[in-house]
């Protein structure tokens, strides 16, 4: 059912935890199954570099694995690079997900964007993120 990579990230999830003085925190619930993902970002205000990222997830194996993979994919990257990350790219990086589990990868993308939105608010920078877009997107 799950690829070896999914199982690896599920069994040994990377970057689990909280960041005390996070630059941005995003928590989203995927309404589809009532699962929750929370992402913490530590961003360098000068370089726009994501220096640290952690997550916590209440969800299935796919949800945990995509959370873990997404943190690996953005750690050390810039905000702009992180903004380009899609759930499909995360799923691909895990060698794919079963069709019924694709929606779980949306959770990871959403949590990241929510954390960046929080950073946008806190930092006053304009990342081009827009709260309403979010809600629309959430319902899709």
């Amino acid at each position: 059912m799950y690829s070896d990579k999914v199982i690896d990230h599920f069994t040994n999830p990377r970057n689990v935890g909280e960041i005390e003085d996070a630059s941005g925190v995003g928590e989203v619930g995927n309404m589809k199954c009532g699962d929750i993902m929370k992402m913490y970002l530590k961003i360098n205000d000068e370089t726009n570099m994501i220096e640290d990222v952690t997550f916590k997830t209440f969800g299935c194996g796919a949800a945990i694995a995509t959370s873990s993979m997404s943190t690996e994919m953005i750690k050390g990257k810039t905000i702009n690079e992180a903004l380009d990350l899609t759930n499909r790219a995360i799923a691909d990086a895990l060698d794919g997900l079963p069709p019924v589990k694709m929606h779980c990868s949306v959770l990871a993308e959403e949590a990241l964007k929510a954390a960046l939105l929080d950073y946008q608010k806190k930092s006053g920078k304009n990342l081009g993120l827009n709260e309403e877009d979010f809600e629309d997107w959430d319902e899709q």
Binding site: G17, T57, F58, C60
Partner: protein, 394 residues
């Protein structure tokens, strides 16, 4: 690694005695039971002997036994066939909210055909109240279906009381005994049922075979059409090997029931106590008393069922969960929700169903393994974080 199969409520391995009997059929008795020649006659004979065994196991008459292709088929012929065949007597049906989908979806289909259905609620233990049942009865109630024992939380229903009331009022009463046969006494006379459904693969028999008990004189109608097999209720060449297999399985299950159920009940209680005692914020789903001997169902709060199952699987422990994430569907188990659990609690449910091969060592192993699994998943859980910080959990 140790392998601990604790999903006997989902399906069981075929026991050796059953396999041997089936092998005999495959190798020696391959004729069609409808054929009158020397290859067909022994097949017919074996089939009728099997019917006698099944009848005896549930205190019925062989003429009251219909072999079907699954437990689902037996439920459907009783409910859908029974309601349709007796439509002119009334339009109202009663069942419960915690039935297996083979029953629930049959009633949903009947609703679309114009029947009115009352779905009885359950209490926190998953049990209906006989008073609710009495209040639901109407003059036009024709058929009632209440499961004998619940497949998810092991709750035993008061079917004898329901049966007595139905018999008195001449209302057809079906009970789904798929989970109870071989675990608690299943006696069609004591239950006073008109229909009863069984399945082979829950009692160490083969998959793809079921039994419909149908009391003499009761009417139903087939859902499939074809040859005259099984009194036209289940047309198609009879699956002799599976019929024989099921009969051996049920005979042994009933013979061993008392002793095995006592053994399982003790293991069950040890497992429940072990889990509740070692992992904080854990609750038992379903009752302590009047619970099927092989069923353990606990919610380990603030973690999600599929993740729990996968973690257990990696330790060799096979279980199941009422979490929606297991199936990728929207809602968690309708049974747990009907019992009043919140979404999160239902999501964190774990069903461990014990069986013939389960040992005390298995139980110890599970108790020992479950705690670190729960700790690890909770460390990842934002809901656990909220709980620990005393924040509200939605």
């Amino acid at each position: 690694m140790r392998k601990v199969y604790l999903d006997h409520a989902a399906t069981t391995p075929v026991r050796q005695e059953v396999l041997d009997a089936m092998m005999h059929v495959f190798k020696e008795v391959y004729g069609n039971p409808s054929s009158i020649h020397q290859f067909g006659r022994p097949a017919r004979k074996l089939m009728e002997e099997a019917r006698e065994k099944v009848a005896k196991a549930i205190n019925a008459d062989p003429k009251e036994i219909v072999f079907t292709g699954s437990g689902t088929e037996a439920d459907n012929i009783a409910i859908v066939g029974g309601a349709r065949a007796n439509k002119k007597k009334g339009n109202h049906l009663i069942t419960t909210v915690v039935e297996h989908h083979a029953v629930l979806d049959a009633f949903k289909a009947l609703e679309k055909e114009g029947f009115e259905v009352t779905y009885l609620p359950v209490d926190a233990d998953g049990r209906i109240s006989v008073d609710d049942f009495k209040n639901a009865l109407r003059d036009d109630t024709v058929l009632v279906s209440i499961m004998h024992g619940n497949n998810e939380v092991g709750t035993i229903m008061p079917v004898e009381e329901i049966g007595a009331i139905c018999r008195e009022r001449k209302i057809l009463f079906h009970t789904d005994a798929v989970q109870t046969v071989g675990k608690i006494p299943v006696d069609v006379k004591a239950i006073n049922c008109d229909f009863l459904a069984l399945s082979g693969h829950k009692i160490y028999g083969p998959k793809g075979i079921g039994v419909l008990y149908m009391r003499r004189g009761v009417r139903t109608q087939p859902l499939y059409f074809g040859g005259g097999q099984e009194r036209k209720l289940r047309p198609g060449t009879e699956n002799v090997a599976n019929i024989v297999g099921l009969s051996v399985a049920i005979e042994l299950a009933v013979a061993e029931r008392e002793q095995e159920s006592a053994r399982l009940s003790a293991l069950r209680d040890k497992l429940i106590d072990g889990i509740l005692g070692s992992i904080e914020e854990t609750r038992l789903n379903g009752p302590r008393e009047q619970r099927l001997p092989h069923n353990v169902n606990v919610s380990i709060e603030y973690i999600e069922g599929e993740a729990l199952l996968l973690s257990c699987d990696m330790k060799g422990i096979a279980a199941s969960s009422g979490s929606a994430c297991t199936s990728g569907s929207l809602d968690p188990s309708h049974v747990l929700m009907a019992m009043g659990l919140t979404h999160t609690t239902a999501h964190g449910s774990l069903r461990l169903s014990l069986g013939k091969a389960t040992t005390e060592e298995d139980v110890d192993y599970v108790i020992e393994q479950l705690k670190p699994i729960a700790d690890k998943l909770r460390a990842m859980s934002p809901v656990w974080e909220r709980f620990q910080k005393g924040l509200p959990i939605t």
